[in-house]
């Protein structure tokens, strides 16, 4: 398509409207760059369209145009649109807006100061509340622990005071390699409730890989009553078991976790009833 054909094709009118497919838009743009007569034709088409659409509305006055341009260029620097108003009115608005800006800045500074103060107060109170919550949790834990200890003591006391409770004192087995004649262990057993507890003991502490294991003796059977550790020779008070029948008790030393059957060579304490 030569220049004359292009001009008369109607494409340039569509190009000015931006209504051609993108490849044709590019072709026309290239033709404009290469042929001054095409560029001139496009300018004339555009001028006609501009004049046509300008006739659609009451034209802006020079003053309105100046105000808009000023507002746009100022918006570029302060990023806000300014109202389009006549100069006198605008001057008043500007002075009012200066006052408003000053008031806003003052308000902003005061707000920031207040926010800072409230923020500090908030942080202080938050720390205090966190501290109180921590202490409260600690007290709750201590209370739970005391309650548990109190229940154990109450149970022990109830067992010990009962006339039906049997007091059994286990003595060391001569020749064993763990305990001596200074060692003892006293168990209280209350057959009606089946409760059994260690009332007092004096046993050597064992290495960490070993534990004492208590057995109930019944005929030829040894019934496992569980393992326990000692601390400074004492058995923890919470060590309590249930056993419905026993003719005696024995203690062996077993690997940590206990054994299914007693290691006979490790029997260190025993009592028969």
């Amino acid at each position: 398509m030569n220049v004359t054909e292009l001009i008369s094709s109607g494409k340039l009118e569509l190009y000015v409207a931006g209504s051609l497919p993108s490849d044709e838009m590019k072709e026309v743009a290239d033709a404009i760059a290469r042929h001054p007569e095409v560029a001139e034709e496009v300018n004339r088409i555009e001028a006609a369209m501009v004049a046509l659409y300008a006739s659609y509305a009451q034209p802006l006055s020079t003053e309105e145009m100046n105000n808009q341009v000023r507002a746009i260029l100022r918006s570029e620097s302060d990023h806000s649109l300014l109202p389009v108003t006549p100069p006198a009115k605008q001057a008043r608005l500007i002075s009012m807006s200066r006052f408003a800006v000053a008031a806003m800045v003052t308000g902003l500074v005061l707000s920031l100061a207040l926010a800072g103060y409230l923020g500090m107060q908030y942080n202080r109170l938050r720390d205090e509340v966190a501290g109180i919550r921590g202490r409260q949790e600690q007290m709750v834990q201590e209370n739970d622990k005391l309650k548990k200890e109190s229940q154990i003591l109450e149970t022990r006391f109830n067992v010990m005071k009962d006339i039906l409770t049997k007091r059994v004192e286990l003595k060391f087995i001569p020749g064993n390699k763990f305990t001596s004649d200074n060692s003892f262990i006293v168990v209280y057993w209350h057959p009606p409730s089946q409760k059994l507890m260690v009332a007092n003991a004096q046993l050597p502490d064992l290495p960490t890989n070993e534990q004492y294991q208590l057995w109930a003796l019944l005929g030829n059977q040894q019934v496992d009553l569980g393992v326990f550790d000692t601390r400074n020779g004492q058995v923890p008070p919470e060590f309590m078991k249930n056993i419905n029948a026993a003719q005696g008790f024995a203690v062996t030393v077993e690997p940590r976790g206990g054994s299914k059957t007693p290691t006979l060579s490790n029997i260190c304490m025993m009592a028969k009833m």
Binding site: S8, S9, G10, K11, E13, L14, Y15, V16, A17, G18, S19, L20, P21, S22, M25, K26, A29, V42, R44, I45, E46, A47, A48, M49, V50, A51, L52, Y53, A54, S55, Y56, A57, Q58, P59, L60, E64, M65, Q68, V69, A71, I72, L73, S75, E76, L81, V84
Partner: protein, 171 residues
């Protein structure tokens, strides 16, 4: 001009604004149903967008005027979607495009007093092609479909309309 605008030349922007403001205002005003104050506001917002986004203008996709026209027309269409404008128009149920097309149904109407009767220069068949292409931003094939005429006729009518206008404005 584009080079100067891209370099932040405010004098160039002032020239550009003066050259096109009234034409853009005419198109915006048409979209916004003659709401003059709102049209001026949209013009200012549109030209601000032009000024701030001049680097995104691509000359291979049309003239600077076309690009500005698209920006301003789209902003005006966006305004028609705003609740306040719809309330003002009591036209809430109609979507923007349908509303805009409805506006360009050609019926005889008196021109505003004081506004030059340029449109009288054109035949109604020419006016509807011109407005469909330039105002609504339709492609020539979309315009052909809307006006139910062949694509070739769209081109012919558009060209004859522009030539007619040029007789009055350019030559």
């Amino acid at each position: 001009m584009v080079f100067r605008l891209r370099n932040g030349d405010e004098a160039a922007f002032t020239v550009l604004y003066r050259q096109y403001a009234n034409a853009l205002l005419g198109i915006i005003g048409k979209v916004l149903d003659g709401d003059i104050e709102l049209s001026k506001e949209v013009l200012q917002e549109g030209m601000l967008k032009v000024w701030k986004n001049i680097n995104s203008y691509d000359s291979t996709k049309g003239t600077l005027f076309t690009w500005m026209l698209n920006i301003c027309r789209n902003m005006a269409i966006d305004k028609t979607r705003s609740r306040s404008f719809k309330n003002q128009q009591k036209n809430e149920s109609m979507d923007a495009k349908a509303w805009l097309e409805n506006k360009f149904q050609y019926q005889p109407q008196p021109e505003t007093i004081g506004v030059v009767k340029m449109l009288d220069i054109l035949q109604p068949s020419q006016r509807e092609v011109v407005d469909t292409i330039y105002m609504l931003g339709y492609s020539h094939s979309e315009a052909a479909e809307r006006l139910q005429i062949p694509v070739g006729t769209v081109k012919t009518r558009l060209r004859s309309a522009i030539l007619e206008l040029r007789k009055h404005f350019n030559e």
